[in-house]
Symmetry: C2
Subunit: 229 residues, 2 copies
């Protein structure tokens, strides 16, 4: 298997939250994929997927894009491996967490991280990134990422549903992690990869959970190039 994985100037710096979901899902299934560093402007490399964003998974002659679709593909194609969801109903409810992470967590994080992302991009990506993001947000990157202190407080508040769960149990999915955990943890690998920002208080139950997730699968995520909080 091959996984196209968003990279910065340094090809080992992999900062996509969506790609991290899949790298952990692959580890959960005991599957290995060669990760191929990919930059925003390498649109041609993804032509076979019919779209222009990562993650894209190649499994033999099968091409799957979009992290949720890839997780479902892995679950359905490798049923003899440990389940990512824990059943059909759990899969559907996990999709809610996927939507929440995308629309709440990642939507808040991008505003905190734009300038840090920019600083770590390959030079080929910088102009594209600045132009596309400034068009999307209607202002300079530096202005979107201003007022970080307020944004961090709001981000912490938005984590309350996860905090309640993680006060009562070790992982979002219970005693051990499932894809629900990889979804939310992927969000945290994004800042960790490219920013020294301190998002969580050290006495936050989410902080302890993140430590456990960093250690999962032999420290797969902890070993990746990034900034320790």
């Amino acid at each position: 298997m091959k996984l196209f994985d968003l990279a910065g100037a340094e090809s080992a710096r992999r900062f996509s939250p969506y790609c991290w979901r899949i790298k952990l899902a692959l580890a959960h299934k005991g599957l290995t994929a060669e990760t191929i560093p990919w930059r925003f402007t390498d649109k041609d490399a993804l032509a076979m997927s019919g779209q222009g964003r990562v993650p894209v998974l190649l499994d033999g002659d099968k091409v799957v894009s979009d992290s949720w679709a890839i997780a479902n593909y892995l679950e359905d194609s490798y049923q003899d491996r440990p389940s990512l969801f824990g059943g059909a109903e759990a899969r559907r409810v996990t999709r809610f967490i996927n939507s929440w992470a995308d629309t709440v967590l990642n939507a808040a994080l991008v505003r905190l991280l734009l300038t840090d992302i920019y600083a770590h991009l390959h030079e080929h990506d910088r102009r594209y990134f600045r132009e596309s993001r400034e068009k999307r947000f209607g202002m300079p990157l530096e202005q979107v990422s201003a007022d970080r202190d307020t944004k961090i407080i709001e981000f912490r508040q938005s984590l309350e549903p996860a905090r309640i769960i993680l006060t009562a149990q070790s992982y979002i999915a219970g005693d051990s992690p499932l894809y629900a955990d990889y979804i939310v943890f992927g969000c945290f690998m994004w800042p960790r990869s490219i920013s020294s920002i301190r998002l969580l208080a050290s006495d936050d139950p989410i902080f302890s959970w993140r430590e456990r997730m960093l250690d999962a699968f032999g420290g797969l995520a902890r070993k990746a190039p990034g900034y320790a909080e």
Copy 2:
């Protein structure tokens, strides 16, 4: 079984989102409970539960309070009936939706509804409600519930994770409703019971889902005293 259920001046007007979760969970399990109208100041009536809030379920000599605990009690005690969650993993992930509904949806709704709740309260409850809520919010009820138009827009935005799911499938839990649906739907029965506020645009996928939920179990929720949007 008996269920203590929050009521307004009119004893048939039942407006607690947490009690609605349980009434739908009971219907899902094919169980019936006599609902006992309860007001905020009837603290003595709940003494056997060791706390002062509803829902409280009496099942023989068993007393259970807190909607999440009651849902778990029903699931574990009536395993031969249709499952509320669809398995252990799904139950844990559903707890996330429970926390999200409490901390995001209900936290937003209470600010929209305080004056409408007050207008529907039994006269014995009014002073207690005004004093306790004005203390909690640090301002008069009327001031908390001001600027509704902005608050409605923010509430609609906060529903985005549910909207994404309900664009792709009929219920949050898939092809048919489970407790994940009853959690979120309970939030909507709160405004419906006591307010003429229009929370959703009619072309919102959540609007159609809410219609299906109102019709579930022979129109259990639709028949309850309230305001149609």
